[in-house]
Amino acid sequence: MIEVTHFTKRYGDFVAVDDLTLSIGAGEVFGFIGPNGAGKSTTIRFLATLLRPTSGEGKVAGKSVTKDPMGVRRVIGYMPDDFGVYDGMKVWEFLDFFAVAYEIPRTYRKKIIGQVLELLDLTHKRDDYVNGLSKGMKQRLCLAKTLVHDPPVLILDEPASGLDPRARLEMKALLNELRGMGKTILVSSHILSELADFCTSIGVIERGKLLAAGSIADITRQLRQHRVLKVRVIDDSAERAASILRDEENVKTVEVFDQTLTAEFHGHEDDLARLLGRLISAGIGVHSFSEDDLSLEEVFMMITKGIVN
């Protein structure tokens, strides 16, 4: 549904996005994560036909982003990360404005505006002025606006930023619902855990480079090679244990804190068992030897530190 091939964007000498290639199938929910300034918005604006690429090509629903922007605009709903609203307009007028701009006939408009207001829980704000809404409300209004023409592809740039925890949960539920309606969704965020629950695949971008992309299962499999090992020892043998761990070639870094050692480990289960044997045969009183579960946040931190290729 969405195809990006060798997209590069330069600002002068600065490379904002570097040779990015990406493909998202129909019905997928693709989470686009990366730290600030990574190039998420740049890529998304390119897909939304708002940005001229330095080189590269993009296709949405088979239509070229650069050659047929009108065709692309017809099939996408785009929500920018930073947007304003028109002053002096009421909520329903705002939605009506965009509905007309998307050439929706009047008879459908009435129904659709009611529906999106309902969907985003804005019905009670129907007659309020849009510039008087709070930030989160505006966010929801903007999402409502992207839905008026019922696009098959949604491109959302940080839809959850500025929302309270409850609204975030609701946003997730909403995106799930939209996925259930068969829409293809590209959604960006800095926060991985926000995406992991409902994304079918994710892409991690840092400094303009796509570090990893694929289904969540793929990425975790890639990460399975990297374990965080926690060893607790009794008495004062921590330093001795640390030196044994450091000798091991599978171990990357070792940190000692009191009687707890944290080590980054590369390898399989049998390597782990051998390592435990070595510690015990060296006479170290190991009282716990375990593998830490990586939270998604830690995955993100590891990826963006460049641990995964």
Binding site: F83, D87, G88, A101, Y102, R106, Y129, S134, K145
Partner: protein, 548 residues
């Protein structure tokens, strides 16, 4: 604290004066003045007449005075609204800076450049002094007036900047307040009665200016110390009905004539199919989105000014109708750009352009809607002032006999409305910021409308040997000179030709077209071409795969 170490002042001075543009502009300015002096310099040494020096000095003074009146608002009117637009206003208010130091910082920083420009003309004035015929005291007096004017105009613009949310509104209201004051001031200080002149410029102007300063400073201080409640997002939500209850003077009622001409009532239901949504939005929502204050001020000030002007120019001396028309044209020149010069840049500044561009609206539709909306509002507002013309043509037999001149006047006014809106929209399409677009528009309009008149006046006085036909050919771009080219007295046409200059220009050999006819024929195609350029600029700059 107020002057030294004032962070507002220092920051703005750094930003404004550090740019190479500032030096370039100063250079161009001094060079321009120099060229003027050079050509006006008496050819032979023996022929030094005090008249030439006096005329040159007058030119200098008037030029600089209007420079102050035109430039002071461009810097000052944006200084607080700019902070509001960039959303840094509240940060500034919440800082430990006292309102006075914010004010002084803003005022001085917006005026410094102007004062540098004024001072840099001093050597040239001294040169005129050497020609003889001018008193030193007169020069000192002129500079005193210039500095006072700069301060007063700057402060008034700053006040507007504080009361309005947008630079464009602040700028236009500043001009509307300042230009009448400036003209009054020139009339008072330029009379031939030397006693009155000295009395006015020494005993009347300074105290009045100081009073205005004091009042404005106190009002602004109050406003900065206790800013009005603008809501959580720092933006005021203006509810029209609420506002109307507290309005003083004119009230705009969208359901009544003539207000509904420029402000159709808000919709109560969805738009019908086939509506241009942008046009609908511009007319029904955008005009009053910042409240009706600006429009009410504009309408009231222009109406109040028009009454004495009508009495003097239309009823007492009907042959001066062209002056009244000039007033209407000036009004349009000031107000027209407000509605067009911001219309594209504001979409960008408010970050709604992205939303608009990803819809199915074609660029032509967007640009056309913006032009029509701007044109409609500015035309209706301008034509509100032509009521007085109609009245005069009905009541005064002298004018009634020449009814066809009314039609030409109205055509000139309508063409001017078209020109100001189109030029404003074009500037909006090629600029990044509304303030830049506004200033660019005013500059272009000055260049096209006022420049030729000034040039003609200058050439008439100093460079002999250019035929009147040639001179009037210069002025075809100016609606003012086309208004004056309409003969108001049948006798004037034949006998007064020496003083009023030729009313005809020879465009094509053999055919004599009056200036107004060339003006009326020339502008519509020019506007069409400019609209085409606007479309192309918008399409390739913003619509097609965005600007950045």
């Amino acid at each position: 604290m107020i002057l030294r170490d004032n962070p507002v002042l220092i920051r703005e001075l750094l930003v404004n004066l550090r740019s190479p543009r500032a030096f370039l502009l100063q250079f161009v300015y001094v060079a321009f003045l120099g060229v003027m002096v050079y050509f006006a310099w008496p050819a032979t040494e023996g022929q030094v007449s005090s008249g030439a020096a006096q005329r040159l000095f007058d030119l200098f003074f008037l030029g600089q005075f209007f420079l102050v009146a035109l430039v002071a608002p461009t810097f000052a009117a944006g200084s607080i609204t700019g902070e509001k637009e960039r959303k840094t206003y509240e940060m500034l208010l919440a800082s430990p800076l006292t309102p006075t130091s914010i004010l002084v910082g803003k005022l001085l920083s917006s005026l410094t450049y102007l004062i540098i420009l004024i001072v840099s003309s001093l050597p040239l004035i001294i040169l005129c002094f050497l020609l003889g015929g001018i008193l030193l005291s007169e020069i000192a007096r002129a500079y005193l007036i210039l500095i006072l004017a700069a301060g007063t105009f700057g402060l008034l613009s700053l006040a507007c900047s504080s009361y309005f949310g947008r630079t464009s509104s602040a700028l236009v209201v500043s001009y509307l307040v300042i230009l009448p004051l400036a003209i009054l001031c020139v009339i008072l200080t330029r009379t031939n009665d030397t006693v009155l002149r000295d009395f006015v410029s020494i005993a009347v102007l300074p105290p009045w200016c100081l009073t205005i300063w004091a009042v404005v400073v106190i009002a602004l201080n109050r406003r900065l110390l206790r800013p009005p409640d603008v809501g959580s997002e720092g933006k005021e939500v203006v509810d029209e009905e609420q506002e109307m209850k507290y309005a003083i003077g004119v009230v705009i009622d969208r359901d009544l004539f003539p207000d509904k001409l420029f402000a159709p009532a808000k919709r109560t239901d969805l738009m019908p199919d086939g509506t241009n949504p942008v046009l609908d939005k511009e007319l029904r929502s955008e005009i009053f989105s910042q409240g009706t204050l600006m429009l009410r001020v504009v309408i009231q000030v222009s109406m109040i000014l028009s009454i004495p002007l009508m009495a003097v120019l239309l009823f007492l001396r009907p042959e001066n109708a062209a002056y009244y028309v000039s007033y209407v044209l000036t009004f349009n020149m000031l107000v027209g750009p407000v509605f067009s010069a911001g219309s594209i840049t504001q979409e960008r500044e408010r970050q709604t352009l992205n939303l608009l561009l990803t819809t199915l609206l074609r660029p032509g539709k967007i640009v056309f809607a913006k032009l029509i909306a701007a044109l409609r509002v500015s035309t209706v507002l301008t034509f509100l002032l032509t009521e007085q013309l109609f009245l005069a043509y009905i009541l005064i037999p002298e004018l009634r006999d020449r009814w066809w001149t009314l039609i030409i006047y109205l055509a000139i006014i309508a063409t001017t409305c078209l020109a100001t809106s189109t030029i404003g929209l074009f500037c909006s399409a090629i600029s990044r910021k509304t303030s830049v677009a506004m200033i660019l528009t005013y500059m272009t309009l000055l260049f096209l409308f006022v420049g030729p008149v000034g040039l003609r006046w200058y050439l008439q006085g100093f460079a002999g040997g250019i035929s009147e036909d040639r001179l009037s050919a210069f002025t075809v771009t100016s609606p003012f000179s086309s208004a004056f080219s309409i003969p108001m007295k049948s006798s004037q046409y034949s006998t007064n030709e020496q003083t009023t200059g030729s009313l005809v220009m020879r465009l094509i050999p053999g055919i004599n077209l009056p200036v107004w006819a060339v003006f009326l024929l020339g502008y519509p195609p020019f506007c069409l071409i400019l609209f085409g350029c606007t479309y192309v600029a918008f399409r390739y700059r913003w619509w097609r795969a965005g600007g950045t």
